[in-house]
């Protein structure tokens, strides 16, 4: 994911688990989600009250026992009832403060993180990586889903617990010092080895959990083999091999989980061990101190109580610190998305509008390389007159798709510039650009909704009549009539209830509704049945009429009838001209054409 992370974020990622990185993340996180800060002071105040209360209650109880029951003068009933009354008030105040604090925290963190999630989602749509690197999409989805969920769990549970635990440790230490500073030191000395060893085991813990996560990824991938690849597994009789791969990945996941569990169990247990040691030490040294006149009997017993106040928060803190680190890493990833500058920036209000009417385009000495990749377009220079029909031809990887994307400003060239209607594309506001310059991708991507909703992606708010008219204009009335529920037909996930050809038809109608002046079209390659093929061809012809059109041609038949053909080869514009001239020139195009003619006419003879 390095390509996605800005330099500043990369640095803090490298500095990994250290506190500075964590604090920086926290600060930036709070800055990005203002709702998290709203009323934070009150929430923290309530947290202090709740923490104080939960620490004070045992002390009050202990003093009740000490002074009221075990006092030198025997049982002091009035004092007991006074203390019990006070304790009762503290219990109620603590519970109410606890409720108010938690509820406020849930509300503000959910609000803040929902805003963060939405902000990150919006930003992802501005990132070029989304349209360039399809493999990274899954990772981007997790930035706005599971990563945000992690942060939310952290803020509401472990983060809060860490703060409360530390608060309780401070309070416990203060109360203990009030009784006896010597015994306080004894308790701290008993826990010191644990705290030191925690700092040492922390990196191991982090690694162990990282291993668990990666083993889950491997396992999911292996498990998908017999499901997604069912027919391959069956056809090649590789069930045994597949099962072995799955079993291995499940085994790896099992042992990674157990390794992590072992570390957790041992740290958890050693906290208890330190507690036992502290208890014994306190009793023995407490008696010695008592004999020296420094402490009462009650003081010693009180201390034994206080040690348990110490063990609880230490155990909790050891457990949640690992979770906290994972959460901080998640937060950092979400922030990383937001801090990645959008390569293609909308000039917005400051931008100019495209002139009305059909649009010409000029591509001037354009060079483009994908980030940390090879140069895919080199010094391309083309003039596209308004209303011209241009075919782009070339082998896979020749740069023709990149050329098309630059025309729609899905990215900006590294060198040179693209102008449409005489305006540099970088200066055109998106409000004016999108809708007037439209690209129809190769695979007609549809959303899991009705046909009508999908068509309205082209023209928001279009009436049902307009939609049906568009279908008719493209000559698709007979196809439409055969749909089970007309405009209300559900197209299914990614449009899979429709055939590939039908999806392409919907994409064409959608583009027609957008009514662009420059249309960039990546011709579909997958074979559809001849009837649909004819429909697509006819609809396409009507769609292109009167517009400037750039078509990435996979079928040379499309190229034959273009006003001009651009032939790309290895990132360069190798040839340009009309069909006749290029066939005559005997270059790359002539070769491609000859082999295509040979194929399609072999059989007809």
């Amino acid at each position: 994911m390095s390509a996605l992370v800005s330099p500043a974020v990369t640095r803090s990622t490298i500095s990994g688990g250290d506190a500075a990185g964590g604090w920086a993340t926290l600060r930036r996180g709070l800055q990005l989600s203002p709702a998290l800060r709203e009323g934070l002071g009150v929430t923290l105040l309530l947290a202090v009250v709740a923490t104080l209360g939960s620490s004070v209650i045992p002390v009050v109880i202990q003093r009740t026992l000490d002074e009221g029951l075990l006092g030198d003068t025997g049982v002091d009933r009035d004092r007991v009832w006074l203390y019990l009354g006070m304790a009762g008030v503290v219990v109620v105040v603590t519970a109410v403060a606890g409720y108010a604090m938690k509820y406020r925290l849930f509300r503000s963190s959910e609000q803040g993180l929902a805003d963060l999630r939405i902000k990150a989602f919006r930003h992802v749509h501005d990132l070029p990586v989304l349209t360039q690197d399809t493999e990274r999409r899954g990772a981007l989805v997790s930035r706005v889903t599971s990563d945000v969920d992690q942060v939310s769990l952290f803020l509401q549970f472990s983060g809060l617990l860490v703060i409360i635990s530390i608060g309780q440790l401070v309070v416990a230490t203060a109360i203990m010092s009030f009784y006896s500073w010597q015994l306080t030191i004894v308790v701290w000395l008993c826990f010191l080895p644990l705290i030191i060893s925690l700092r040492l085991t922390q990196p191991r813990m982090t690694r162990a959990y990282a291993k668990v996560r990666s083993s889950v990824g491997d396992m999911l991938s292996a498990v998908s083999e017999p499901v997604v690849g069912a027919s391959v597994v069956r056809a090649h009789a590789i069930a045994g091999r597949t099962q072995a791969r799955i079993d291995a990945s499940i085994g790896a996941n099992l042992s990674a989980n157990i390794r992590a569990q072992r570390l957790v169990a041992v740290t958890f247990a050693s906290a208890g061990l330190a507690g036992g040691l502290a208890n014994g030490g306190v009793v023995v040294l407490g008696v010695l101190l008592g004999l020296a006149g420094e402490l009462s009997i009650g003081g010693v017993v009180a201390f034994a109580f206080l040690v348990s106040l110490f063990v609880g928060p230490v155990t909790t803190a050891t457990q949640v610190i690992t979770e906290a680190q994972n959460a901080i890493a998640s937060w950092r990833r979400v922030i990383g998305v937001l801090d990645t500058p959008a390569d293609v920036v909308d000039p917005g209000e400051d931008g100019s509008a495209l002139p009305t009417g059909p649009l010409p385009a000029q591509v001037r000495h354009v060079t483009y390389a994908y980030p940390s990749g090879p140069v895919v377009l080199r010094d391309v220079d083309v003039d596209i007159p308004a209303r011209a029909r241009i075919a782009v031809v070339g082998e896979t990887g020749s740069g023709k798709t990149t050329f098309a994307k630059l025309l729609c400003r899905l990215m900006d060239p590294d060198q040179g510039h693209v102008t449409i209607g005489g305006v540099d594309l970088r200066e055109v506001s998106f409000a004016s650009l999108r809708g007037r310059v439209v690209m129809v991708p190769q695979e007609g991507f549809l959303f899991d909704a009705t046909l009508a909703e999908n068509l309205r992606y082209g023209k928001p708010g279009a009436s049902a009549r307009e939609l049906r008219q568009a279908v008719e204009d493209l000559g698709l009335a007979d196809w439409y009539a055969a749909l089970p529920a007309g405009l209300d037909t559900e197209v299914g996930q990614r449009g899979e209830s429709l055939s590939a050809g039908e999806r392409q038809l919907v994409a064409l109608v959608r583009a027609y509704l957008a009514n662009p002046d420059l249309l960039v079209l990546d011709e579909a390659t997958s074979a559809v049945d001849p009837q649909t093929e004819l429909r697509i061809t006819a609809a396409l012809n009507r769609l292109l009429t009167g517009r400037t059109a750039v078509v990435i041609a996979h079928r040379l038949s499309t190229a034959e009838q273009a006003d001009e053909i651009l032939v790309f080869d290895g990132g360069r514009l190798a040839e340009k001209g009309n069909h006749h001239d290029l066939v005559g020139a005997g270059g790359t195009y002539a070769r491609l054409h000859a082999s295509w003619v040979a194929q399609s006419h072999l059989a007809t003879g």
């Binding site: 304790a87 938690k102 749509h125 038949s557």
Partner: protein, 608 residues
Amino acid sequence: MSADTLAGAADRPGEGATGKGFRILGHGIRLQWRMFSIAVLGSLVYGALTVADAWVLGWATDHVIVPSFERGRLETGLALVTVGLFVAVATLRALGVIARRLIGGLVYYRLQAQYRRAVTRRYLELPMSWHHRHPTGQLLSNANADVEATWGVMMPLPMALGVVAMLVFAVVAMLFADVVLTLVGLVVFPLLFVINVGYQRLLSPRVARAQQLRAVTSEVAHESFDGSLVVATLGRAAAETERFARVSYQLRDANISAGRIRSVFDPVLEALPSIGVLLVVALGVERVMSGAAEPGDVVQVAYLFTVIAFPVRAFGWVLGELPRSVVGWRRVRAVLDATGEATYGTERLPGDGPLSLSVDHVGYRYPDSSTAVLRGVVVDVEPGRTVALVGLTGAGKSTLSSLLIRLFDPTEGSIKVDGVDLRALSHESLAGAVALVPQHTFLFDDTVRENVTLGLPVDDSEILEALAVAQAQGFVQALPGGIDSRLGERGTTLSGGQRQRLALARALVRRPRLLLMDDATSALDPDVEARILAALREHSRAGGATVLVVAYRKATIALADEVLFLRDGRIVDRGPHAELVARSAAYRDIVDAYDTAREAHVDGEVRP
């Protein structure tokens, strides 16, 4: 372990969800009873020693602290015994914690692994028709999230059982200290338990709803990012953000609603033991005043209260997990109980070289469908011939090629190669002799080499040769690691045409005696397709394979010695392409469709 044993805990009519949940627990315990017993033992030790800790403190108060103060000195022996007791109790308790958490975790993770293996094993055994009836996402979650949900309850279970013991210990210890004060415990502990159950009952539907909304949020993000090209060029990013914001806010509200329940119950559950202690002290004062109890007894009971308060919640965790467990189990069971394994024979195909193919009155009807896809299909292909299957979408071409590799079995008639019924052949023998190249293939998250060989022991020269025939050597060599480059999720993305070429190489490297190509070159540029077809012709002439190819394009059809024309599940005509063109108007319509499409906008240009 057989799927049969794992299936356990059968449904009983009229049984409630909680009863069902307990039976799942019982089943999990039976499968891992040794480890589970150790975990529970650890939990018991932990519980007993937590109580013992209070007892040691009480003992130290009465026998060490008070007497030492009275005597004015601390005996060394006594000091050592005190420290020794505390440390011994803490050590034993630590061991208990390790047993409970580590061994308890082991039980949970092992059950998960065991069931994941069992579920995926079923995926490999169940027939394609079963796979087709179940959405991919569902099957993936059956093996993962559902297994996890089923056994999630095993994690807190040893703790909860240990708590039972702890409660018993505590109550006994209290009874020894003071009977009346114990009564407070007998009121407070059940109250804690009841509140906890109510808490979980209120919480779990809210958590489930949040979980479901989380899935919806993820789906919207996935879809929106997948459609990014459409979203970008149509300028719909703002509208998409609105759509995402709607579900995000629903998720926010669901989380807040669950959070509200938590905010109410957590402080109550924390306060209750404190109130119990206050009650004990209040009552205790009166008891001590009346001489019915010693101050030490009151201290001990009070301490027991604070110690027990937290672990009692483990009950709530178990009960809260149960409904999730029942749902997960039902889904997992649906896979384990599915029937209809694909069965194979034991015969092997003798000899080598191209196979003859004989399809005898074959009919096929998809399960739950009333119309037949294939009807009375009769085909005889001599060894080494190349046959093209031509027909409109839905004519049954893909179904027929699937039957030839036994992805499905015909519902009528039989299929033989070299005179042997396909169903009599062993799976290995069939897969070794017949290879299918589909239009869309699955690539494994592995290297190019592994994706081609799929574990077949072949040397590099054979892999390279297969790649060469499939016109894939060029792009494979251009990959950073050549044939050792990783593909898939964490590797290189291949285009549709590149995937098709790898699928072809995958089939060719097996040296099939019958090669089935189901529209396998559709995503290729014409130029590349032509090179493949030429190479394939060379290849099949040299190696000798019978080839059956499903095709639309004339160039593909041109490869064939003979054409089978399929319409509505029947073979309506067969013969050389030229003859079919001459005598069948319907056939002409189909194969000329591309040319017709082309001529529609060529405007009468004259071509050779």
